[in-house]
Symmetry: C2
Amino acid sequence: MTEPTAIAAGAADRRPRRRPPSAAAAAPVVDRSRSYRHLTNPFEPLRVFSDDQVAAIHEAALQILETQGMRVLLPEAREVYRRGGASVDESTLVVRLDRGLVAQSLATTPRDLVLHGRTRDRDMPVHGRHVVFAPTSGPPNIMDTVRGKRAGTFEDYCNIIKLCQNHEVIHVLGGCVEPQDMPVQFRHLETTRAMLNLSDKIPLVFARGPGQNADNFEMLRIAYGLTHEEFISRPYTSTIINTNSPLQLDIPMANGIMDYAAAGQVSIITPFTLAGAMAPVTIAGALTLAHAEALAGLTLAQIVRAGAPIIYGSFTSNVDMKSGSPAFGTPEYTKAAIGAGQLARHIGVPWRSSNATASNSPDAQAAYESQMSLWGALMGGCNFVLHAAGWLEGGLTTSYEKFMIDLEMLQMFAETFQPVGATAEDLAKDAIAEVGAGGHFFGCAHTMARYRTAFYAPLVSDWQNFGQWADSGAKTATDRAATLWQQSLERYVPPERDPAISEQLDDFVARRTAAGGAPPVS
Amino acid sequence: MTEPTAIAAGAADRRPRRRPPSAAAAAPVVDRSRSYRHLTNPFEPLRVFSDDQVAAIHEAALQILETQGMRVLLPEAREVYRRGGASVDESTLVVRLDRGLVAQSLATTPRDLVLHGRTRDRDMPVHGRHVVFAPTSGPPNIMDTVRGKRAGTFEDYCNIIKLCQNHEVIHVLGGCVEPQDMPVQFRHLETTRAMLNLSDKIPLVFARGPGQNADNFEMLRIAYGLTHEEFISRPYTSTIINTNSPLQLDIPMANGIMDYAAAGQVSIITPFTLAGAMAPVTIAGALTLAHAEALAGLTLAQIVRAGAPIIYGSFTSNVDMKSGSPAFGTPEYTKAAIGAGQLARHIGVPWRSSNATASNSPDAQAAYESQMSLWGALMGGCNFVLHAAGWLEGGLTTSYEKFMIDLEMLQMFAETFQPVGATAEDLAKDAIAEVGAGGHFFGCAHTMARYRTAFYAPLVSDWQNFGQWADSGAKTATDRAATLWQQSLERYVPPERDPAISEQLDDFVARRTAAGGAPPVS
């Protein structure tokens, strides 16, 4: 068998037609999913900056915080900063941080973060070489190839949570799509209850004001059967904190940092810096701004509670300078991700990145932009990938088909992380001697002992030959993904739950609903 | 502006609607293509093996060559091996190489290979951090979304060469598709003439017997206006040599190694090892086998002519163990590519890899499998990427649409290779101070000075918002690629040619055609 380049002129298809030994056909597909539950990345992180350049960006961010500061809209947050030693100008709402305060805050920020699950095998280390995948969070819209694009509903929200539960490569949950059919003052109660009922994975919830934060914490405490003291002693959940770039921290986000720090829960502090729009047009400039903002948020958390768990979030991309449209999964995005990873390691804080694309369709563009995002994140040494599955249209839509395509890509990374065996048996000298020149390896003992588990079996990819593929409908990857998410939902089974806890949760939700819920703060 | 996760419940699309300053709309799109002409990869290569493991694979390959040897079908090649000091068994056709002979061959193989173009700015270094992209070579079929899949024609061949000429990120040419409407004894004459007439980039030709090899060399010599001595003094072209794994070297391939070595031209020696079929089921085993075969081919070249230019080719993937179908762009493929790069660096020979997919359609699967291939190659430190654009269906088809999608991906890598500026101006402290908290960067001086060239402008990707995208036909990336290849062909302009040289080439082709051409050897 030869590469097609060496096919003699006019030769026909020379792909192997022999099938493996008949045992192979009968063998069950090996479930590799358990090996995706905890991932570690064996690759040395890529770098786009020298150590000196990383230090220069950190220094520039410190100078920005000292001289220019952050505008902080929440009075209580300014008061906390003041108490911590920052200089606060109440007339401009600007908080300036000296480098000593930032250094002290970095010193108390935990390096070795672990998100705690309901059971120990759901604990998720988020540091060092550990990698955690979380689904897309926050899109207002939902899309599938059956029903098209539409406003997200609670049913869609629950469906995406079920898909997260079904597939081991998704490690924690998220705000998979906004259930716009649910009133905003009750939405957090219903979505958090749905996460706790439909999955045994770790929830990620939104910080939309102190009332919702308190409700979410209480529901988690009930679901995990913890006392208040137990709950605040370890991280059980996380939230996304976006600064309002440039250099502004708004009210719900400041509340979020403070509430999560006080409760010992994780703030993923993520400046959303689009180079050329809300951030400098240069990647290094956008990262400098983002770094300053992340340090300001981290400092607020540490003043509230020294040791508060933090993930350093980065979300730096660029706009299309012709239209102003945001772009994702671009070369600039990839390099910014790698650079952000260097900054996170420089300050010794776990790092969050994303799987993003600007595509409006779960097509080839969506796939290659997502790949550019994922490689930038993962070869940059990322610990926590938000939006790892389902993100489409610059984050305005969650796509069922994209969710399945992303699962395939995430599983391929999970497999790429597995070590390549290189024992004497792996080098296969005996098998090569046994098979001999011009032979084949299908039936040899070395193959027979390994073929069931040797290779990744794909989820979405179709490896049939063209004729078989055409005969089975000439389906694209997107078509196949549409079948797969429907099949996955059909086989969903809820995790085991203690009825007493479910009842307590239901009581809590009923009580809070009767009391009017908690409208989001803005 | 915030990440979608932080959109207050129910909030609408908050993407920026402001457009950049009006000058931006009027400014010409900056042609970045010149910066794609010579690429260097700034990233430290990834590793899947320890140094000890690499040494163990090399040692195992040496032992295989010493004890088991290669079956060499061409008597003249066995004679060359014998003359070089190998042990030859004429009854079994097996050639055994001792490690001294292999070491001596490695010592004379050039590390710093340069492919020479017709002009100096078309010279292509193929070593160190240099990266060269070559189109898909050899598929018997062609496909586009207008006409479907069909046997390749000479018109298709010429079209793909024109696309290669139009796009700077393709650095050298290849056997883009088999022109099956052209008789096999004349095919090399017509395809080589087409490459020389339609493009000024470096040709890659097939080695299909001594007659065709001699014709191809003569046509190159004529086109470049060289004496025979000048031609054989430097590499002007390359060819693909596939061993017949396991451990067999067939007649045209042995002829190719010998003819190319004698002429000082480049053999890209590429064992095509599918783990579980023609190679051991383990990645390390498949690489061990491939390494042995590559060393055997390299040794033949060096015996013919010490200093003969060689590229170490790798093409290790796996089969689907359920069906026996070959798979590409799998996690195993990616890791095998990275491992092959380590082996190439271990022996100090430039390294070739590929951009491959098993998808039957230029869809999301094609994109993510190609990305897995390309990242494995490029983060593995590859110097020469064959099949970089156009490959589909496991190499059985060249796709016009996939060609354009691949161009986009290659350009994104070319941009990712550009350094991230990190001067004080790049860090943008002054711009951040000027814009202030809550401001925007569209109009500031720092942005105005840079926005025209700040970011990559995509080829296939569509970054319009959903409404604009839907209004313009809701086209997928594949749909857009179909428009793009047709537009690119419309604007093709042939390179300037010396009419006297064209006449000499035509005379040569006419003379050789009248003499019956040169049928391929098999």
